[in-house]
Amino acid sequence: MPKTHVETTINGEPQEFLCEPSESLLAALRDGLGLTGTKEGCTTGDCGACSVMLDGRLVPSCMVLAPEAIGRSIETIEGVAQGDSLHPLQQKFLEHAALQCGVCTPGFIVAAKALLERNPDPSEEETRYWLAGNLCRCTGYDKIIRAVLDAAAEMREATA
């Protein structure tokens, strides 16, 4: 059985790769394209570590078949910083020490960015519910929530 040829857009750039038809988008990103910022956690859609944007919608990339990416647009953690300058969320995660082992961090940042794009001023409760599908086994979440709310405040000021 020949491999499937996928032409897609990743972080604004056209990309192509070959994959097994049953391979996950997560595996294709990491193993096929070397985009290892997206992390593998549970592979059952429960942990949020593999979060990416697919045509503007937050999805677990382990629950997407790689060939589904044909003609779609994908944004991963690698597209979040602009060159050397970190996204405010990334900066605030550092300032608040909102990570320990770091495996959940890319998923949190991609998911939090999706939240702030649709709601620039979320309440703490809204933020906690939005991120309820991102599991962190190290931090206890409080620092993550503070980092997201702080980034939101800074981004609002920057656009005010």
Binding site: S51, R57, M63, L65, P67, E68
Partner: protein, 288 residues
């Protein structure tokens, strides 16, 4: 490992042909059940037929007749639709209860129905509002009530070459609304111990003239409970009527004991949720 094919038909007819030609082919919409089942070895499809490139499957349209909801529309899109939230708040709240933000970006109402779990949250909510399932197959289209779709845990009426295209939900008339409640032991992301959906209509004086009550996770399939609806019709949805509906719903439940709850607990909670959902639906109906 044998390689599995990936197919992305562009039309309903093409999908039917693919499914009819290969009994092992499985439809993939959001994949949040199917891919977990596949990777754990529970299912071994010969092909994934991705139906998300078929326009009919991705449609949301609302007109004087009601809602037409493409079976592969993601849950997030359904919940974000303000008109759906206004017209069918119970369906919207059941949709919003499913999984995380990420899962809602993939999971679909059509998939929730076709996965045919007794605990599917949107199924009792859809039954309560009188939703119809539109199925395409080798001999054309057929349509049946959602309560007749699931035949047992993981089993449904779909035959060879058939798949779910869309759901049709009739537009609610004046003073008609719905509600869905479920019990889980935490606040987010769990599987229903019990679910209850209620839709009802009030007349100008506040008397209930029509009702539909559906319960989930307490029988091999979600159940429509006409006796619970009958307890509400003719009443002002007062305490006595609510207690009658609760009793009828508890009586209709035939739950199992498992790690999520015992038979006695589930039976009791079925009544409690039915009563509460009916009270919320009535409150909403009074405001419409």
């Amino acid at each position: 490992m044998l390689s599995i094919r990936y197919e992305a038909p562009a039309s309903v007819g093409e999908a039917v042909a693919l499914l009819d030609a290969d009994e092992g082919a499985k439809v993939i919409a959001g994949g949040t059940d199917l891919l977990v089942q596949y990777r754990s070895g529970l299912r071994e499809p010969t092909a994934f037929v991705d139906v998300k490139r078929i326009p009919d499957l991705m449609e949301i349209s609302i007109d004087a007749d009601g809602l037409v909801l493409g079976a592969a529309t993601p849950a997030a899109e359904v919940f974000e639709n303000t008109e759906i939230r206004q017209l069918w708040p119970g369906v919207a709240e059941a949709t919003d209860l499913i999984g995380s933000t990420q899962i809602q970006g993939r999971a679909t109402l059509g998939g929730n129905l076709c996965n045919s779990s007794p605990a599917a949250d949107t199924v009792p909510a859809l039954i309560a509002v009188g939703a119809q399932a539109v199925i395409a197959g080798p001999s054309g289209e057929r349509e049946l009530a959602v309560e007749d779709f699931v035949t047992g845990p993981g089993q449904n009426v779909l035959g060879r070459g058939e798949f779910l295209v869309k759901l049709r939900v009739p537009r609610p008339g004046p003073r008609t609304s719905d509600a869905y409640l479920r019990l889980i032991p935490r606040t987010e992301m769990d599987i229903a111990v019990v679910g209850a959906g209620v839709a009802l209509t009030l007349d100008e004086g506040g008397t209930c003239t029509a009702a539909r009550v559906a319960i989930g996770a307490v029988a091999p399939t979600a159940l429509l409970v006409p006796d619970a609806a009958a307890a509400l019709v003719g009443s002002s949805v007062d305490d006595a009527a609510l207690a009658g509906a609760a009793q009828a719903a508890s009586a209709a439940a035939s739950p199992i004991d498992d790690k999520r709850g015992t038979v006695a607990y589930r039976r009791k909670v079925t009544g409690v949720l039915t009563q509460r959902a009916a009270a919320i639906a009535a409150e909403r109906a009074r405001e419409r």
